[in-house]
């Protein structure tokens, strides 16, 4: 690359007396501020019989607290010109508001009120249970490939904590009780299990004082029980899935790989860019263009704070046997492991990594205060260090071809820990 491009996310780092980590990150291109609270809890913390609970609980966080009656959270934010949302993943749960800078006190007050005094009734629980069931139907049960990919994760992993989906099963959702909600809140939604990030246009001294006033007297709780996320080494696993809603065949392949920010996971991030990062990537060019066997190729290397998956998903032409697609994928993996990445290709990947940091996305990257807040929050919750968001990119930009080769040889160019699912369509999807 020519001239150096700034990619650093600046921040100030505080810990309140109750253990709440508070980060401020300046970004003053518009009078806008992001408030984000991330809790260290996700679907991995759910025991058998309680799948989907972390996500159902996320919905409960919008159902009222001591000073914010039900429905008022939405009203406060949107009628003041802001936007809000929340999400639950395998390893964390986050809540955020993007607000006009003048409304920062409102955002902080809303987050503090629900952290200190969530109030949930049976009626609200039942209502949100119904909403989440519709969410499951919308995103999984009524969509082609979605049930297959949910099943795929269950067989790709061996440890229950990693296997089950975030949305959970209908049966388990039915079993959730008000007592579960209260216990979950006490255990996981404590200030010492959370990070608060304020990014954008704020005034540090004034707003740090306000944060202390609103959050510092929320009592801490004992640390939540640790979860065993380890994965055993195993032989290849294969399955055929008949999807009644799909009309085009597909193949999903994954390998279990080490957790984020290990040497191997870092190197495999680069391997993922080479193999499936966009339309110049090796698998796209080979499968879609040269051999003309695939309709689309997607995938990537997860960077969970736990054993992760290197995932590939190929929609292929019905007249091509899935074994042929599979064989080509393995040929490209073998080529990467034997020949590595030529300098020009590696340079291109590095340029893309830097450019992606300046993405236009509201949830990702340096242009949006919310993107900055999320980057810092993931780094803090997953790595214990907000600066790891900056260090991560520095490390990725230093990775050399031989490191990629070594990681690919060890983790991908092998049937060990591999899972393959052929998805056979049953629907016609007739062209009208």
């Amino acid at each position: 690359m020519g001239r150096a491009i700034r990619t650093r996310i600046e921040f100030r780092d505080y810990t309140l007396a109750n253990g709440l980590r508070v980060l401020f990150s300046p970004h003053r291109v518009a009078p806008v501020v992001a408030v984000l609270v991330m809790y260290r809890v996700g679907s991995r913390d759910e025991p058998p019989g309680k799948t989907g609970f972390a996500h159902l609980f996320e919905h409960m966080m919008f159902q009222g607290s001591a000073n914010v009656p039900r429905g008022k959270h939405f009203e406060y934010v949107e009628s003041n010109g802001g936007m809000l949302n929340g999400f639950t993943s395998y390893d964390c749960t986050a809540y955020f508001e993007l607000l006009p800078a003048s409304k920062l006190p409102l955002g902080l007050w809303l987050e503090a009120d629900r952290m200190r005094s969530l109030q949930v009734s049976q009626e609200n629980l039942d209502n949100q249970r119904a909403v989440v069931k519709e969410e499951r139907r919308l995103s999984i049960d009524n969509q082609p490939y979605a049930r297959a990919l949910e099943r795929f994760r269950e067989i790709a992993y061996d440890n229950f904590a990693n296997q089950h989906s975030v949305i959970g099963s209908m049966e388990d959702l039915d079993c959730a009780t008000l007592e579960d909600v209260q216990r979950f809140f006490r255990t996981y939604y404590a200030p010492n299990n959370a990070v608060l990030v304020i990014a954008g246009d704020y005034h540090l001294r004034r707003d740090l004082a306000l944060v202390r006033r609103l959050f510092e007297d929320i009592p801490p709780q004992p640390a939540p029980p640790p979860v065993d996320l380890s994965e055993p080494d195993r032989a290849e696993r294969r399955e055929i899935f008949h999807d009644p809603l799909a009309s085009v065949p597909a193949i999903a392949i994954a390998w279990k790989i080490p957790a984020r920010h290990t040497e191997a996971n870092d190197a495999l991030q680069i391997a993922a860019e080479a193999l499936v990062g966009g339309r110049a990537s090796r698998l796209y060019q080979r499968l879609v263009k040269q051999e003309a066997v695939a309709v689309s190729v997607s995938g990537g290397a997860e960077a969970r704070p736990a054993p992760s998956l290197f995932r590939l998903f190929v929609l292929h032409r019905p007249d091509v046997p899935p074994e042929r697609v599979e064989q080509i994928v393995y040929e490209e993996v073998a080529r990467l492991s034997e020949e590595g990445i030529p300098a020009a290709e590696l340079e291109r990947i590095r340029t893309q990594l830097v450019a992606q940091r300046w993405s236009d996305h509201l949830y990702y990257g340096l242009q949006s205060p919310l993107g900055r807040a999320l980057g810092l929050a993931f780094a803090t919750v997953f790595d214990g260090d907000p600066n790891s968001v900056n260090l991560e990119l520095e490390r990725l930009l230093r990775i050399e071809s031989h490191e990629v080769q070594q990681a690919v040889r060890h983790y991908l160019n092998s049937s060990r820990n591999r899972t393959v699912m052929m998805i056979m369509p049953a629907a016609q999807g007739g062209v009208a």
Partner: protein, 431 residues
């Protein structure tokens, strides 16, 4: 200190600075809207081709406009499709062309240091596409598979059916390619469509980002100055003002566990009288989490996860659309509730508080759209596509805030009446 029972007072706040584009017209009649902005080391580019969208396909070649747009990046006289992708990646960017209802849109971005190289690539794609036979065949086969896939997706099926119900035979109804046409077109058809429609006269190039205005104008002149001509006179028939097929339409999708509901009707286009008034009413009904549909259909009854209403704008008409996805057994109840809320909007006065909340919601979203370079660029794409005054978005907050409740209700009562609605349900048979 005691925890406050109401939100602490607001902070004072600085003004949002909204840039106005600098307009230039090149000798070949290409218009430039340039906004230098150094907030990110990046440049966003949007080129709007006014008559290269789906509606300009001939009846016998529906899908050709979209294929032409898609395949502009499939090879040029100087570059293969791989070289195009590889170069865009090297510039920390991306480049694609797509066809919308009326316009085609070339979208690109890159790290600012690579802007001259990116412009060379864009010019090549724009002026010299060759539509290689082999690429056309790959695209044909994969488009057919994608079409089969789309026909299994409830949202696509609903959208496709609703457009037909609203627009009848008017070209605005087109969403997917016609399969017979897809089998037929050859590189020369794509060449001809390109030659006819991709012309500088009437086209607008928007650039937002880290560049110097004078330098960029010379660069664009150097790369696109040789682009010549005007599009052959393409006129669209007048769009309908009333839906072609009102009433209920069911699309059977076997194995569905949910019904995908869409209700729609035709409304005035962006910038027309009544359009902002109606937009306010539609957002009060179904914009965001504080809207009536969200509060009742989701939060009160638990019928749906996703529910809302919005207006899709075409150049000469708008389409009001309300949607929800609900368990098959709740289909009738959810539909009734949505219809009830629409009727209430047309019949009952709204409270000043509720209207003010909606105004603030719209103005707030508007403001959040100015955070990123791409957000700014896309705002001005809207201005170009809908021929809005250049300062439309600057005046938008004031225009929204000054609309009285009676005007909102009058607009809703004129356009959102039950007998003007087309209702589409995609799913299993309803018990």
């Amino acid at each position: 200190m005691k925890f406050p029972t109401v939100p602490p007072p607001d902070h004072p706040m600085g003004e949002l600075h909204l840039p106005l584009p600098q307009e230039h017209t090149l000798p070949n009649r290409l218009t430039l809207w340039l906004i230098p902005d150094s907030r990110a080391p990046r440049v966003e580019l949007r080129l709007i081709i006014p008559t290269a969208g789906r509606a300009f396909d001939e009846e016998t070649m529906v899908g050709l406009a979209a294929a032409t747009a898609r395949l502009m990046t499939a090879g040029t006289r100087r570059r293969t499709s791989f070289q195009i992708e590889e170069e865009a990646d090297r510039y920390g960017g991306a480049l694609s062309v797509s066809a919308n209802a009326e316009t085609a849109l070339l979208q690109a971005h890159c790290l600012s240091q690579f802007l001259p190289l990116m412009l060379d690539l864009i010019a090549d794609v724009l002026l010299n596409p060759t539509f290689p036979q082999q690429e056309v065949e790959i695209d044909r086969a994969n488009t057919l598979q994608r079409l089969r896939l789309q026909r299994t997706q409830p949202d696509f099926l609903a959208d496709e059916r609703l457009r037909k119900a609203l627009f009848g035979t008017h070209p605005y109804h087109r969403l997917a390619p016609d399969e017979a046409a897809l089998q037929r077109w050859q590189p020369e058809h794509l060449q001809a469509f390109h030659a006819q429609h991709y012309r500088p006269t009437g086209a607008t190039l928007i650039a937002v980002g880290d560049f110097r205005e004078k330098q960029l104008v010379s660069l664009i002149e150097a790369h696109l100055g040789g682009w010549q001509g005007e599009p052959s006179n393409s006129k669209l028939p007048d769009p309908p003002t009333e839906p072609a097929e009102k009433g209920d339409h069911h699309v059977l999708r076997e194995g569905s566990v949910q019904s995908h509901l869409m209700l729609g009707t035709l409304v005035p286009p962006r910038g027309a009288p009544d359009s902002l008034e109606l937009m306010l009413g539609v957002n009060l009904l179904g914009g965001g989490t504080n809207s009536r549909l969200f509060r009742t259909v989701r939060e009160q009854y638990g019928y749906a996860y996703s529910v809302g209403a919005s207006v899709d704008y075409y150049r000469r008409v708008g389409a009001f659309v309300a949607h929800a996805q609900t368990a098959t057994e709740n289909t009738r109840d959810a539909l009734c509730q949505i219809q009830h809320e629409i009727r209430r909007l047309t019949e009952e006065p709204m409270s000043p508080q509720e209207l003010q909340a909606t105004k603030n919601y719209l103005v707030g979203r508007h403001m959040l759209g100015w955070i990123t370079l791409g957000g700014i660029a896309d705002r001005f794409v809207q201005s170009v596509v809908h021929r809005l005054p250049m300062d439309y978005w600057h005046r938008y907050p004031e225009m929204v805030q000054s609309i009285p409740a009676e005007a909102v209700q009058r607009a809703c009562a004129s356009y959102l009446l039950p007998h003007r609605m087309s209702v589409v349900v995609v799913g299993e048979r309803i018990p």
